[in-house]
């Protein structure tokens, strides 16, 4: 090959680079390692994590069973090692799967259009806010305080330098959005009202009621979810204008917070304002059904500085995991799974003093009465149990409150142990 280029050594390939830009030393790192050394290194790291613990953490990342078929399918090189399906003729597999994903997201959320996925739930929130700004030509955003605190932080990062004012809406004594606060703050400049349901405390918001209030002022209602399993049982936010959320619950391992798959879904009338990639149905030259990426003119590679977003990739492989998961559970399984989560969480909650009395799905806030959450959690760690999330970290007003989550993976015996740790003096 070098001879073809008339060169003696590979160093000749870079000989023309000005010396001032050349890096002439050796990178300061070790020599290459063998496969088993690498596997060992990561095993050792894994052992320094919470191996073999039962966990009651939720708060946006959930512990659900991953059917083995998921990895069998996503490990196929044809899915794992392909890229964005710009060449539709040799990408029909991933395009059809994305089309199925978009369809199932619509069915789950009660929307008419969903894109091929977003980075994650948190970054989908500012994308929804910016979409609402484009649609309404208004610029003020209201967001419920019971939306995931890190999602709210991400929204702030995006809006702060675009000079989009964001205000928080209080929650009521029962943990749900304070409708009076909403009515007081909602005005003719409000582009969107963003609420989460089930909210960060696990509580189901009154979407219908607040949609009337929001739409009465001409603003858009954005509904966020972090626990997708809830949608197997809970009425979807059909009256929302935009739904964004996180599908980590659908066979995506927690993986210390990512990669996950976010979604954004909306009504057909807003299809040209939705960010990210969309797969669409069409036909090929012989008239057979075929799929392709469509409405690409919204995107950065065509519209450049006028694009709906700078988003370039989606989370195709994670979206595929979620698609396989939804296919396996199906109509019946999605409901049974949600009912199991509901039953487990209520079994645990019945043993504990609750901070809020609104209906909840598989997460709830418990009071620690007399002990600190840290004391309780430390005692639980000795029993190989990771307790709930102490809420004071995000909500100073909720000192001595813990956010707990139970899923189909939670064992009764561990729940009993956890309840005892709360009770013991």
């Amino acid at each position: 090959m070098l001879a073809t280029l008339g060169m003696q050594s590979e160093e000749d390939l870079i000989a023309y680079l000005p010396p001032a830009v050349r890096f002439n030393s050796r990178l300061s790192m070790e020599d290459g390692k063998s496969e088993f050394e690498i596997v060992d290194y990561f095993k050792e790291r894994a052992e320094r994590n919470a191996n073999g613990y039962a966990s009651f953490l939720g708060a946006g990342v959930y512990n659900h069973y991953r059917p083995v078929l998921v990895d069998a399918i996503v490990s196929r090189g044809e899915f794992l090692t392909s890229y964005t399906p710009y060449q539709a003729e040799i990408s029909q597999g991933i395009l059809a799967a994305i089309f199925e994903f978009q369809t199932m997201v619509c069915q789950l959320t009660g929307m008419e259009v969903a894109n091929a996925s977003m980075y994650d739930g948190s970054s989908a929130v500012p994308e929804a806010a910016m979409m609402a700004v484009r649609v309404t030509h208004r610029d003020r955003i209201l967001i419920a305080r019971a939306v995931h605190p890190e999602y709210r932080e991400v929204l702030g990062t995006y809006t702060h330098r675009q000079h989009i004012p964001v205000e928080e809406l209080a929650y009521e004594k029962n943990g749900r959005l304070d409708l009076d606060d909403l009515k007081a703050k909602l005005d003719d400049h409000t582009a969107a009202v963003i609420v989460q349901s089930p909210n960060f405390f696990g509580l189901i918001e009154q979407i219908d009621e607040l949609s009337h209030i929001v739409h009465g002022k001409g603003a858009l209602l954005v509904v966020v979810f972090t626990e997708a399993v809830a949608l197997g049982l809970i009425e979807p936010p059909r009256h929302a204008d935009i739904v964004v959320g996180e599908l980590q619950s659908f066979a995506i391992s927690p993986s210390y917070g990512g990669p996950f798959a976010g979604i954004i879904a909306t009504h057909e009338k807003f299809i040209r304002q939705i960010p990210g990639r969309l797969a669409g149905e069409t036909t090929d030259a012989s008239g057979h059904r075929a799929f392709c990426l469509t409405l690409a003119t919204r995107e950065q590679h065509i519209r450049r500085e006028k694009a709906t977003s700078n988003i370039c990739t989606n989370q195709a492989l994670l979206a595929l995991m979620a698609t396989v998961f939804m296919s396996l559970y199906g109509k019946q399984g999605m409901r049974e799974l949600a009912e199991q989560n509901l039953a487990k969480a209520h079994y645990l909650a019945d043993k504990l003093p609750l901070a809020f009395d609104a209906p909840f799905f598989n997460e709830f806030v418990a009071r620690t009465n007399g002990k600190s959450p840290e004391q309780i959690n430390a005692a639980l760690l000795d029993r190989k149990i990771i307790g709930g999330l102490p809420l004071a970290r995000f909500y100073p007003e909720l000192e001595n409150c813990v956010l707990l989550c139970a899923t189909e993976m939670s064992r009764r015996q561990d729940m009993d142990t956890l309840a005892q740790a709360f009770a013991k003096q």
């Binding site: 890096f23 069915q107 469509t294 199906g330 199991q340």
Partner: protein, 493 residues
């Protein structure tokens, strides 16, 4: 002659919804070990949905077959050369997949106590350190989820620094050869975009740049090597021009596969850059994600890095949230950790010498391919190529055949097409990046295919214009899809 592929039976497959029939399922949950609860009573009847309308009902084996059949309709790196320029489609080592699934890593919860997350934190710290060394920068954040997200993070930091200096300034300069994400990003951070025209060699024109850099300019977003695969030889001078006026240099690291071990952006004057871990560092593209857009910064920008940052207390890692100048979070949690594990495994497998060797091999493959293609295709610029080479369809266009048509014909020869019609500064661009992981045999086959297509363009252009001829799906009607968008399946009423 088509040598790489032969005809092969492909299975047809309907959509899942069309396979569905009532009562079928592909799951088995354990028996409930707690009393069941009545959803309507617990949640309120108004909060409970009767069912998920039209959701599929299929068996486990049907699911497996369905997705296996779909998979056979895809091309993939595992099947052959995937020469998408600027996408760095290299081999995705399978050990990366294994280590990312190590139970203690894959099931780590982001809110687990720090004392039980030390393994994850060590992985993050090790990768941050390795990437800082590779880029010659001071610090790295691994929070951004993808390249474009990294760009957003980087430009936001630039804005924060300039604001602290008293004036965020008004615009960002972007060469006309840049990726579309660059101008879109600048806008998202509140900057106006000014395009800089490239010179006749496909590089930044120093005089044009000097005139454009005023006190209003916040930054230049530059890709190096640029999108025509050429090293910006005046890069130090370019950075100097920006710095002299108090502006910063953002480097788009999409093409870092050309530089690892031989040149460091931190050394030649870049202030901030992103790295696409799914390109240079071999994590799988997965049909379009997940990516990871690590961002490396020079010292002046470190106070503005996204929150939280890792901090070492003796032997113990903690997350530090006390960062008054930070731009804040760009996403929840700490980044696409599973992707970070794979990237670190890649770096470990190569080590210092292996990384440099991989770069040289990538350059060799690109230049070898360029030499084989030049007799038949018009190279866009004479300047030496690095990891990719860009041609124009000038010669073929005379016969009415454009780059998009040649791309479709390549499919018949068993290859994924190159990047079509980008960069925009080249008329009818063919942008080709083979990467270091291709063998000479595969490159020769590709060059043969391209030569054969060039002959077809001369002798039988219709054959090329109607391609592909051998795929299960013939040319897809994108116009119909866009005029009447159907983006979900619906039952026939």
């Amino acid at each position: 002659m088509i040598r790489k592929v032969s005809k092969h039976i492909v299975q047809n497959e309907p959509l899942l919804f069309e396979l569905s029939s009532p009562g079928k399922c592909g799951y088995q949950l354990p028996a409930l070990d707690v009393p069941p609860v009545d959803p309507a009573k617990t949640l309120g009847a108004e909060n409970v949905r009767p069912e998920i309308e039209d959701f599929p009902e299929v068996s486990e084996f049907e699911v497996l077959r369905h997705f296996t059949r779909l998979s056979t309709w895809n091309y993939a790196i595992d099947l052959g050369l995937y020469p998408l320029g600027s996408c760095t489609m290299k081999y995705n080592p399978r050990v990366n997949e294994v280590v990312a699934r190590t139970e203690g890593l894959a099931w780590a919860h982001p809110y687990a106590p720090e004392v039980l997350s030390q393994g994850c934190m060590e992985v993050i710290a090790a990768l941050e350190q390795a990437l800082a060394e590779i880029t010659g920068m001071d610090a790295v954040t691994l929070q951004p989820a993808a390249g474009a997200h990294g760009e957003f993070t980087g430009v936001l930091m630039i804005r924060a620094l300039l604001e602290q200096r008293g004036n965020p300034r008004k615009k960002v300069l972007v060469p006309d050869s840049a990726h579309g994400t660059n101008p879109a990003t600048a806008r998202m951070v509140g900057y106006a975009v000014e395009n800089i025209k490239s010179n006749e060699r496909g590089m930044i024109d120093i005089d044009v740049l000097k005139r454009a850099v005023t006190e209003d300019v916040a930054a230049l977003m530059i890709t190096n090597p640029n999108t025509v695969g050429v090293f910006e030889e005046n890069i130090r001078e370019i950075c100097g021009i920006l710095h002299e006026k108090g502006a910063l240099v953002y480097m788009d690291g999409a093409n870092m596969n050309a530089l690892v071990g031989i040149s460091r952006p931190g050394d030649f004057g870049a202030d901030v850059m992103h790295l696409n871990l799914h390109k240079t560092f071999s994590t799988p593209h997965g049909g379009g994600g997940p990516g990871s857009g690590a961002v490396a910064v020079a010292k002046a920008l470190t106070p503005f890095l996204p929150s939280p940052r890792l901090k070492r207390n003796g032997d113990f890692w903690t997350w530090n949230y006390d960062l008054p100048d930070s731009i804040g979070r760009v996403r929840a949690y700490y980044g696409n950790f599973g992707v970070l594990v794979r990237a670190l495994a890649y770096i470990m497998a190569h080590g210092a010498n292996g990384l440099r060797q991989a770069t040289l091999d990538a350059l060799l493959n690109a230049n070898y391919l360029r030499a084989l293609l030049e007799p038949n295709y018009q190279i866009a610029y004479d300047a030496p190529s690095m990891h990719e080479c860009v041609f124009s369809d000038d010669r073929q266009a005379k016969k009415g055949v454009r780059t998009g048509d040649i791309a479709k014909r390549l499919i018949d020869y068993g290859f994924h097409p190159y990047t079509v019609s980008f960069p925009l500064i080249v008329r009818g661009a063919l942008m080709i990046e083979p990467t270091e992981t291709e063998s000479k045999r595969e490159l020769d086959l590709f060059a043969d295919a391209m030569a054969s297509i060039a002959r077809e363009v001369e002798n039988d252009p219709e054959l090329v214009l109607k391609a592909p001829h051998s795929t299960r799906t013939s040319r897809v009607d994108e116009v119909k899809a866009a005029r009447n968008p159907i983006v979900r399946w619906q039952p026939r009423s």
